[in-house]
Amino acid sequence: MNGQRSLSRAFLALLRRDLVLAVRQRSEIGNPLLFFLIVTAMFPLGVGSKPQLLQAMAPGVIWVAALLAALLSLDAIFRSDFEDGSLEQILLSAHPVSVLILAKVLAHWLITGLPLLLVSPLIGVLLNLPQGATATLLLTLALGTPILSLVGAIGVALTVGLRKGGIILSLLVLPLYVPVLIFGSSAVQTAAAGIPVTGQLSLLGALLLLALSLSPVATASALRISLS
C-alpha cells in the first residue's frame, strides 16, 4: 500500500519528537557544549599559553574534546526511552527498526553534534588555529561527528540495560573512535600547514558512509539483545 510514505512519516515523527523533547529540556543541548568549551579551555592552562604550542596542539585538542563531549552525551540517545518503555514500542513497531534508529541518531546529532560545529571556530580562535584551517575544521567536524553518534549508538544499545553502563560505554566506544580522531585532526593539522587535505576528507566521507549503512543494523540487533 503506502508503506513507503508511512515509513518516512514515522521517521519524521520520531525525529520531531526527539527534537521537541530536547528543546523542552535545554540543558541537554547546553551541557555537552559547555563541557566542550571548558575542556578546551583547560588545555592552555595546563600546558602553557605559548602561541606556537597552542597552534600545534589545537587540532588534536579540539578533536579530543569533541570526542569526549560526544561520549558524554551518547547515553541520552536511548536511556530515557529505555526507562519509560518507549524503546520497546519502537522495537515492536511495524517499520524497520534500523530506519527508526537512524531518526534517533540524526536527532542526537542535531542536538549535540551541530552546536559543537557552530562553536568550534570560536575555539579555533582561542587556541590560535590559523585562519586558513577553520574551514577544514568545520568540514572535518561536519563529516566526523555524525560518525561519532552512529558508532556510539551501537555502544549505547549494548549497555542501555546495565546499571553501570556509563564507564563501560567509554571502554567500548573510544577504541572505535580512533580512525575518526586520526583523520579529523590530521586533516586540520595539514590544512594549518597549507597543504591540500582532500585525502583525509575523502577517507572521513567513506567512514561516514560505512557507518551510515552498517551501524543502524548493528544498533538494532544490539537493542534487541539488550531488551530481550
Binding site: L158, L162, L171, P175, L176, V178, P179, I182, S186, L207
Partner: protein, 247 residues
C-alpha cells in the same frame, strides 16, 4: 562429517570430546615448545646487527600472530552465535577473550622489552605498536561488557555484536594508525630490516608459532569445559558426571 559437527554443538558431547582432546593438544604444545625454544635460543645463529637480543622474536612474533588469530576465532564464533545461536560458539568466544588479551599484552610487553636496547626507548608511537595497543583495548572492552551483563547468554550475544563491530573496525584502525604515522613524521624507526630471514631463524619461529597455537587450543578447550559446567550446572547430565557427583 556434518553429523559430527552437529554432535559437537551439544554441550554434553563437546564436554567429553574436549576433555579427551585437550591433554593431547597440551602434550603436542609442550613438545613443540621445547624443540622451538632450544632451536631458537641455542641453535639459531646470532643476528649480525642486533646480536642476541633479536631472539625475543620467538615469543614476540607468535604472540602478535595469536592476538589476531584469536580475534578471528572470536569473530567466527560471533557469527555462529548470532545466526544459529550455537551454545558452544558462545562458550568458546567467552573463553577466548582473556587468552587473546593476554597474547596481545605479551606481544606489547616483549616488543617494549626489545625496543629498549634497539630503539633506546620503551615505547614508540609506531603504527604497529599503536594498533596492537588498540586491539588490547578492544579485547578489554569485550571482557568488560561480558562481565557487566548478568545473564550469560545475553552477555554472549552482546559481546558477539561488539566483536563483529570490531572486525569491521580492526582493518580501518590498523591502516589509519599506519597512515597517521606516515602522515606526521615519516618512518623514524627502522623495523626488522630486510624481509628475507635466514631459514635457520625461520624454522624455530614457525615451531614456536605452532606451539602457541596448540597452547591456545588446549587452554581454550579446558576453559570452555569449565564454562560449560558453570552454565549447565543445574542440568541432569552435569549432575551425573563422576567429577561433579563424587565417587
Amino acid at each position: 562429517m556434518m553429523k559430527f559437527f552437529h554432535k559437537l554443538g551439544s554441550p554434553p558431547y563437546f564436554y567429553g570430546f574436549a576433555g579427551r582432546l585437550a591433554p593431547w593438544l597440551g602434550i603436542i604444545c609442550l613438545i613443540l615448545l621445547v624443540i622451538g625454544l632450544y632451536d631458537g635460543l641455542v641453535v639459531a645463529p646470532t643476528d649480525y646487527q642486533q646480536g642476541e637480543s633479536y631472539r625475543i622474536i620467538y615469543i614476540h612474533v607468535p604472540a602478535a600472530w595469536m592476538s589476531l588469530f584469536i580475534y578471528m576465532v572470536m569473530a567466527v564464533c560471533a557469527v555462529l552465535t548470532m545466526i544459529w545461536r550455537v551454545k558452544i560458539a558462545e562458550v568458546i568466544a567467552t573463553a577466548s577473550a582473556p587468552l587473546g588479551a593476554s597474547f596481545t599484552f605479551l606481544a606489547l610487553v616483549t616488543g617494549s622489552l626489545w625496543g629498549k636496547p634497539m630503539w633506546g626507548t620503551w615505547w614508540v608511537w609506531d603504527g604497529r605498536l599503536t594498533s596492537e595497543l588498540i586491539l588490547l583495548f578492544l579485547y578489554l572492552g569485550i571482557i568488560a561488557l561480558y562481565n557487566a551483563v548478568e545473564d550469560k547468554r545475553t552477555a554472549a550475544r552482546s559481546t558477539a555484536v561488539l566483536t563483529l563491530v570490531g572486525v569491521v573496525n580492526i582493518p580501518i584502525i590498523h591502516y589509519s594508525v599506519i597512515w597517521w604515522n606516515t602522515l606526521h613524521q615519516g618512518p623514524t624507526v627502522t623495523k626488522l630490516g630486510a624481509p628475507s630471514i635466514d631459514p635457520r631463524m625461520l624454522i624455530p619461529l614457525l615451531l614456536m608459532a605452532m606451539a602457541f597455537q596448540f597452547y591456545y587450543f588446549a587452554v581454550v578447550l579446558m576453559q570452555a569445559r569449565a564454562e560449560i559446567l558453570e552454565r549447565e550446572r543445574n542440568t541432569a547430565w552435569v549432575q551425573q558426571l563422576p567429577e561433579v557427583n563424587g565417587p
